[in-house]
């Protein structure tokens, strides 16, 4: 299964269209936080932007940390989320090594499910769907400030 790759963040203009698309289309909210991908300035708006998004780990530390199997391993990397099983303990977010899981005030976790619905809303082609782990390559990325 393909995975979302924030491959060209050097092009990002910080418009948040990807986050807003994820919140709108996946989580049915208007938000720049409750989304699987979040865009943040890399040390102030003058320094460019970086994406906080799931790196599609396999095995995923958040899956191991989840006590109720609300997070299970996704083929190709990342997780499958079963919200009805979530007890909102926040262990997944604590386990994520790159802070890619957002917790809202009620401790609901928001993580990328690699569905790719945000990709079409990036005006600068920063995002792509790439082969999953073990399916033809490892995702590559530019550094946040890279060209």
């Amino acid at each position: 299964m393909k995975i979302l790759n924030a491959a060209r963040m050097g092009r990002c203009i910080g418009c948040h269209s990807c986050s807003l698309a994820c919140a709108r289309l996946v989580h049915k909210r208007l938000s720049w936080d409750t989304a699987g991908i979040r865009v943040e300035s890399a040390g102030g708006i003058t320094a460019g932007f970086e994406a906080r998004v799931c790196l599609a780990c396999d095995p995923a530390p958040c899956v191991a940390a989840c006590p109720t199997d609300a997070f299970t391993q996704r083929k190709g990397g990342g997780v499958v989320v079963k919200r009805s099983s979530c007890i909102r303990c926040g262990a997944c977010a604590a386990a994520c090594p790159v802070d890619a899981i957002y917790l809202d005030r009620e401790v609901n976790p928001f993580v990328c499910i690699h569905c790719g619905r945000c990709v079409a809303y990036c005006p600068h082609d920063c995002l792509e769907m790439a082969p999953g782990r073990g399916e033809g390559g490892e995702p590559s990325r530019e550094a946040a400030d890279g060209a």
């Binding site: 910080g14 948040h16 807003l20 909210r29 409750t34 003058t46």
Partner: protein, 586 residues
Amino acid sequence: MEPRTSFKVLVVHCDTGRSEVKANWSVDELVGGSGLAAGLFAAYARPDAPWDHPDQPLIFAIGPLTGYFPLMSKVVCAFVSPYHGQYAESHAGGRLALALRFAGYEALVLLGRAKGRSALAVGPHRVELKDAHYLWGMDALATGKAMRRVFPGAEGHRSILRIGPAAENGLAYGCINVDTFRHFGRLGAGTVMAAKNLKAIVVQGEESQEIPEGKAYPDLFRKIYRDLTATPMMSKYHDLGTPQNVIPLNELKSLPWRNMTATSDPGASGISGERFAEKLLLRNTACSGCPVGCIHVGMLRKQFADEHQFAYYKVAYDHELVFSVGSMLGVTEASDVLDIIDEIEKQGMDAISAGVALAWATEALQRGVVGQAETIELLSFGQAEVYRRAMAHLGGAANDFYRALGQGTLAATKIYGGGDFACVLGQEMAGYATGEAFFTSMGLGLRHSHLDSGGYAYDQGNEVKDIAKAVGYLVKDERLRCLLTSMVACLFSRSVYKEEVLADCLNVLGYAGLARDLAGAGERVQKSRWKLRFDWGYDPGKVSLPKRFGEIVTWRGPMDADYQQGLRAAYARAIADLGKGGGQGG
């Protein structure tokens, strides 16, 4: 998603640190943005008190579509202007519009004066006013950096507003810097913030909002997003940006040069949008919620030692700035333009007013109206380093002359003379010497802004001098813009957000009443704003149109004094009529 019938407003009393949440502001009546700001201003402002009275409000308002659709990314700021002592509106983007949406408020109203020099943080679960005396005197860019650490717990998505020394020193055009690259620039909003003893405001946006169920909303969003990113107009804004106007305006003999002693000059190629893009453009950036990304950030590299030691600075540029500190000051090197802008950013001044004011000062020095004892520097067109230093004198109110100039060019002419060549249209002019319709629109317009109405476009598209047609255009175009700035849309999106599209957007979000009566809503907002201006003593007959505006030559030839006078009189009557029919103002 329940249809909303009222706007939620946070009122912060800066004197006590207490605040109130008020949810009794009618959507159908006030529309949002410009309309909401005018309604709040009418309710809170005191016509009997000066601009810096603690009771006067500083208002930030968004609209019903903010964040829900692309390019609905602007905020309206309303205040009593230190420039003219009346109702004023200024617009900015950055992250502020979405931060207010996700803070859960359609407007923030600041009342009172903080007891000490302070900074304010607001969010969905926070209102905190704290001592910030240590920030006073700090430049606007450094203040933004410092503010990232001042309020622990506000590290997420947020907007940071701040002022620089110019506002603290009482300049009538001290601005509010929004997220480094955007500004509530014109007419002195920053100086009002200084009068409230506020150096900076952080708006935390961390609460998600509901959207309508079903497919209609995401489908409409997709269509509008596609339309906005596909139009040639949008590519213009993200390609070269607004400085793409420099060459065409110069060729039309409509770009003011050297205090508008000329309208065209071969030096334009050195400060064109193309030159900036080829040599200095570092990157584009965007207001939150806008995929266009019109903000052009240039890289200024400066050697600071004999060895190869460089510092680099990231400086945003736009047509208006390229005009005001480029052509208007005779500066024809793009990197010099960035250098002067950088100083203006640090001082926290409106860049248009600052550049045009120094252009007047330069001619005044040349003519002997003032001497170097006043200007400190030997101001001379084209001398960028001199202008950089002069900008610091202006922001720093270095002497009586700069203090007077900081109150506006006309204020300085009242003391020193030289009014004939002051390039002032209600406030320092914007970068379009296109002719009579623009001079009328900006000179008499509600905000004295080039964005009040498309007067510059009318001049360029209409050779026939038809006063009734021109006035009809200005009034109608302003009404359409009022509607957009009530939603609150970026005016760059006006080719897509036609009335029927706005109606679709409002309908899908449940604002059926507003959607049914959009034409009426635009007219209501337009009238309410004009009523406020007239209630506060505005007299269009007293607006001076300095002699210089009659002396220029454009591609249409010399200015037509009769047409100019007729247009001005007819437009003054039209806006007075609008002011008499106002709804919520007063």
